[in-house]
Subunit: 454 residues, 2 copies
């Protein structure tokens, strides 16, 4: 045990390979289905919206995949990221627990998202793609892909969930400064967007709707545009594995090993990034570490959803996958963690949760912001509201350890900073944030519309 | 020469001492004068607004000053900061120059300012002070002192220049989240603020005015509140020396030595931080490195000001110091680099400039934002508009080296990120920013009101 606060790796410690949990998962992944026929998709179907190299990676069962040198060169702008022992937070809590966090907020766009954005832009570039489309919720994914497309000289159109677009104008400007075009979704520029607006002109948008618009634009581009997704799919989870691989080395530097690893979950990618390499170690050595996925009480796909085949988007254009879902028609309450407002959960994570290898819990909105401020006031860093879900759970673990008089080693992923979320903090401090009741009626209604897969 | 991109120091490399250039400066510092009598101040006069331990440090001529362990413990939350070789920018410019930058934007509040904020809060705390007052321009200093006061459990009132307060509401919220109270200056809560508003209710404010308000509140508090300044004074420059001390070690890791070191200047503290340790080396070993201070064309205190005694604030409440100044009554144009809108320059830097040990140049607003975007699009990091002045000059140096076919090693200080400056970027991209003509009439008028010191 050392007295160090930050554990830094050298550039030479940057992982050379990504880790693919499909090689180790006890549940084989379910087939991905064509949304029209509900039959297994062909690579040709997928190739309408994705380049073939990423489709092959999506379907790969190789345990390790080499990170291309061009991607590593860009990772080096901010990676390896620091692992930090939150000593001041520990002291404020009076806990015997040791709390560590991985700071993915140090990336130029402020979150873990560039780990996959850079890879996706690279693979699109070498496949000859000239332009991409995508959606964004809180704006972290859109900012990351804007930066990545800028680096590889690709055009980008971003469909940003309207409620976030209105709340976070500065995120849009950041994307613009990397040359991306940004639209408030639902828009009147796509067939699906127009149909949504016809139904309800005040629809606040959701990730499901924004995905549908971005997919539609790519699918109808005659092959000139491809679509990029910031979470859920397995190639995204693979790219995020650099987080956990670095943490393994850094915990070793700290002379400790985590009893629990925590991440917030929307689509699941930042959690997968930190957790999957630890699951691999659990599978090798026996269960040493609990993996805890934290979702908002208002969007409880793991804890209240159904493990079933469902559409990835609201318009039923994206492939159908087996996942924990609240139903593709579910429009989550407008919580201030836009990155977590997704109806489903990554299939790979869903399978691990179903197999009992991952735990899940929910936290309400106000207690999450309370934890965010406690973290800022002790560690200095104002977290993204999404990441604050992980902080809330980490604090609760530390308080539980205190009550039980246990030394517990806690590691959580600080997936991003909150510099573009100040309006939400203002509302919290003004007492204007609410906790949402579990939207049971909306969930039941959406569940009734799950596709019938034999 | 290595192929590395980022040069990281370990926690054990964090400097244990600050460097005080007064021990080495060829010009002895001029006396600091009482603003009422224009006679040299006594420590007792200064102690109305500063604690005695900081006054002693301000007047110290010790070459090295130990950094208290409590301050180093907080520095470790983000220090040592990375030195980064801007390889992608070099490539975009097609220059043979090597461009390095020190990233002070990784601090929790986003700039170099916590280097002194933490120290000032610490010294106030151990002096028994319970509450502080300060001013802020762009908000970087206010954010830093808010964080620092929060860490040491001190109350804080921040007078924020009105034009920045209006343009950057999120900076205010960040300060609030650390528990600080923030006011738009000029306010109607101080005698001086009221007199300014009586004269012109639409006064956009300036650092000089905001300083006057913060000083007035401390001076009239009957000893319960002390004032903290984010630049100009020598104890501030001393605290910032950690930047340059780290750079010396990191350039050594890179196997190079800078031909030119560049920083933007408002009051002078981030420039001093990176430059003074290199000046010490120049004085030891002979001139190896040019030191280049970059100011906005609209606030050219070094390049167009007068080296004279002047008041540090607009209301003539702060001490009179000998410095390059545009006159304490000068209200700078409302450029989008609020942190540089100060009429004077740090006395220590003014003396070095007068002695020819430092060069200065000016850059106009639009070319500065152009450089900022080129930097973001190559290196990923969106800089603060203040820091972008250093980037503009670094790019110009690199282009000059290209024209002359010279390998030149350039080091600049990226003093902060631009996450709270997005409204300014939006205006630039919309073509709404202007270059200001040199405000000669305003400068001449202000110069006529310099105090007559015999």
């Amino acid at each position: 045990m050392t007295e160090q606060t930050r554990f830094l790796l050298n550039e030479s410690d940057l992982p050379k390979q990504w880790y693919n949990i499909l090689a180790d998962s006890p549940n084989p992944p379910a087939a991905v289905l064509n949304p029209q026929t509900l039959e297994p998709v062909t690579p040709e179907f997928m190739s309408v919206i994705f380049p073939m190299n990423l489709i092959m990676q999506e379907m790969s069962s190789e345990r390790y995949i080499d990170i291309p040198e061009e991607v590593r060169e860009i990772y080096k702008l901010w990676r390896p990221t620091p692992l930090i022992r939150a000593r001041r937070l520990e002291k404020a809590l009076g806990t015997p627990a040791h709390i560590y966090f991985k700071n993915e907020g140090v990336s130029p766009s402020g979150s873990h998202k560039p780990n996959t954005a850079v890879a996706q832009a690279y693979y699109n570039k070498i496949a000859g793609v000239k332009a991409m489309t995508t959606e964004t919720g809180a704006g972290q994914w859109g900012s990351a892909l804007s930066m990545a497309c800028n680096f590889f000289d690709l055009e980008l159109q971003v469909y940003m969930v309207k409620v976030s677009y209105d709340l976070k104008p500065y995120r849009r400007i950041l994307m613009n400064s990397f040359g991306a075009e940004v639209y408030a979704s639902p828009t009147d520029t796509t067939d699906y967007g127009r149909s949504v607006l016809a139904d309800n002109p005040d629809n606040p948008g959701s990730l499901g709707i924004a995905i549908s618009e971005a997919v539609e634009v790519a699918a109808k581009s005659g092959g000139t545009k491809k679509y990029g997704l910031g979470s859920v799919l397995n190639h995204v989870m693979i790219h995020q594995s650099v987080i956990g691989e670095e943490c393994l080395k850094q915990m070793d530097m700290a002379g400790e090993y985590p009893d629990v690893v925590i991440g917030c979950v929307g689509g699941g990618s930042n959690f997968a990034g930190i957790a999957y390499p630890f699951i691999r170690e659990n599978l090798k050595d026996g269960q040493r570490t609990r993996l805890l996925a934290v979702e908002p009480a208002a969007v409880p796909s793991l804890t209240k959803g159904k493990y079933a085949f469902d559409y990835g988007d609201t318009a039923k254009m994206a492939p159908v996958v087996k996942m924990y879902t609240l139903g593709h028609g579910f429009v989550p309450p407008t919580i201030h963690a836009g990155g977590l407002r997704y109806h489903g959960m990554a299939p790979s994570l869903s399978a691990l949760y179903d197999a009992g290898l991952v735990e899940a819990t929910t936290v309400p909105q106000k207690a999450t912001f309370e934890a965010a401020l406690q973290f800022a006031q002790t560690e200095g860093i104002l977290p993204a509201p999404e990441s604050a879900h992980a902080i809330r759970a980490a604090i609760d673990e530390a308080l539980d350890a205190k009550e039980k008089g246990e030394k517990r080693v806690i590691l959580f992923n600080l997936s991003g900073h909150g510099h573009f979320d100040m309006a939400s903090y203002q509302k919290y401090m003004a007492g204007e944030l609410q906790d949402f009741a579990l939207p049971e009626d909306a969930i039941n209604e959406a569940m009734a519309a799950l596709p019938q897969v034999s």
